[in-house]
Subunit: 337 residues, 2 copies
């Protein structure tokens, strides 16, 4: 069996994570048991939720254990199979973690899924046609319940979730305004992703200033918002929400590294009779087939062409992850193994 | 036609309202037009929402105009009628305002409703079997969607809305824990209203301390919360909410007089996949008949015996209102005209 380079979490960060929280280890790949499949990873997904897992605190899932392979979504190819439904050469998506190979108990539901790479590049099954895409779909369809003609906003608009949100919202006839960090990202969001407008939050010193820019970009107010960030962006959006507006809360990346960030004016929830609802996409398995079908169609037809930032080689994963947490990536961040 | 003493709003408060914001004026009652009804008020309702109306800022309704009768719910008796559906002697509930008589265009839907005072004292149609009761019902049934066996909490538990929430929740087999200000109120909430426990928030210097008390009173966590206050109480409750819990936001009384009060840890909305939703009861007219029927049954049968604080005479309304804003009342605050 082949050698399997892998990255372990060896200590928990206080504040920002750093390289010494991780360790590159090379182990042998164990021989396959019955119903198991050996997958060689082509790409590893890096996602903001991983920062939360590095902590040892109560959250919606268990913490990542120390001294074992970091959790993470992967796409790749079956190289050996002892399961009747998988054969060598199959392209698959799973949760293989930060390593070169994974041995998967393919009988466990949801562990491994074959994908069609005829029209959709395999790495997109980690982004637009994967977990981030379904995340955007759930927030848009189930929480915001978007309707044609509405104005919607999304933070981290150039990222994997934000860009999928924009494509899905445009397909429904909504006006979509992105919020992103930097002129380059904003230009990409408007010119390549087809958003109606994009606001660079870095140009604003506080939420009142950002809120003014939102007022110009959203002259009819905001009917629905998808929150990936929290903090100043959320405060600014709340000031512009219309009556009976909904906010889908998917991420609070700004708070992961330190103290909780307060919400400036929660009384707006009452004044505008808003709904603010948090969710995690893995708890809504029923949505996945419908969402993936729509997202696959948008990407396969070329209607939605999301960019990716590709780091080269497993060893580059920690640095690429730190960059993701600082917003250095452009679109979906993956690592080519 | 009789003389009609009435109270006008003559200036807007900055911060706490005071007596000089109001003026007692006596006018003649105009002669009735066709389809109009003259009502002599027995009781005037005082409610926290009135503080919001005194401001000239955007809220969910228009501000109370200056130099006209303060808005408010009233119960009383028809003394003269030019409408075929009303006759002298009818007991009615309406929005007569801070005055002794009102002339009502009885053809306008929702302006005037006859009530049965056989089993329910008339003043209760301003509280337990009126707008506050329906408010509690909507939050409990439509937003929290309470189920038997769940643990629910409510702030301002001894007030008109809070006490109705407790009665409705107990009728559904829930564990109900109140939060109120002072030992006397807490004793009333448990001994007379039948809550399972009540926490005196005045005994706690910050939300972390209050949250600890909530942990003891709610060993299985909190599944649903009805918020009448905001601020420290909301922050404390959020720390104890269970996964998929719901918060119905009905009041933010603590913020009316000054700056917005932030929410300490909004990321809990994500961590616990919570729903936080604001509402105002007047926008849900379909709920009223069902809610009033249930509330009338609970009060009429003696299962729910809410207390009232009764101020005597129209001129006492401003002082009684200031007391309400400071939590001096015990149960529903009304003014006997």
């Amino acid at each position: 069996m082949p050698q399997n380079p892998q990255i372990h979490l060896v200590s928990r960060p206080t504040g920002e994570p750093s390289a010494d929280n991780f360790k590159l280890v090379t182990l042998d790949t164990p021989a396959l048991q019955d119903k198991q499949v050996l997958v060689k990873h082509a790409f590893l997904s890096l996602d903001p939720y991983m920062r939360g897992r590095m902590n040892d605190t109560k959250s919606y899932t268990l913490p990542q254990p120390l001294n074992s392979v970091m959790i993470g979504g992967t796409v790749g190819e079956v190289v050996e199979s002892r399961h009747p439904k998988f054969a060598a050469g199959d392209k698959v998506v799973g949760m293989g973690g930060w390593q070169t190979y994974s041995v998967v108990d393919a009988d466990t539901p949801g562990m491994l899924r074959k994908v069609d790479t005829t029209h959709v590049p395999i790495s997109h099954y980690l982004g637009a046609v994967g977990m981030p895409g379904v995340t955007a779909w759930h927030g848009l369809v189930r929480i915001i319940e978007a309707k044609a003609g509405q104005t919607l906003t999304v933070s981290a608009a150039s990222g994997a979730v934000g860009s999928a949100f924009g494509a899905l919202a445009k397909a429904r006839g909504c006006r979509v305004v992105g919020i992103a960090g930097g002129q380059d990202k904003c230009a990409y969001v408007v010119k390549e992703l087809g958003f109606d407008a994009c606001i660079d939050y870095k140009e604003h010193k506080d939420y009142l200033s950002l809120s003014k820019a939102l007022k110009e970009a959203c002259p009819d107010g905001i009917d629905g918002h998808f929150e990936n960030v929290g903090g100043m962006v959320l405060d600014a959006v709340m000031l512009r929400m219309n009556q009976f507006g909904s906010i889908a809360v998917c991420g609070m990346i700004a708070g992961y590294n330190g103290q909780p960030i307060p919400m400036a004016n929660p009384s707006l929830i009452l004044v505008n009779r808003m709904k603010v609802q948090g969710f995690i996409v893995s708890e809504h398995p029923d949505d996945w087939p419908l969402a993936l079908q729509e997202l696959g169609g948008l990407v396969g037809s070329g209607q939605f062409r999301p960019r990716e930032t590709v780091a080269q080689g497993l060893a580059s994963a920690p640095e690429a992850f730190f960059g993701l947490l600082k917003g250095k990536n452009f679109g979906k961040q993956v690592v080519q193994i």
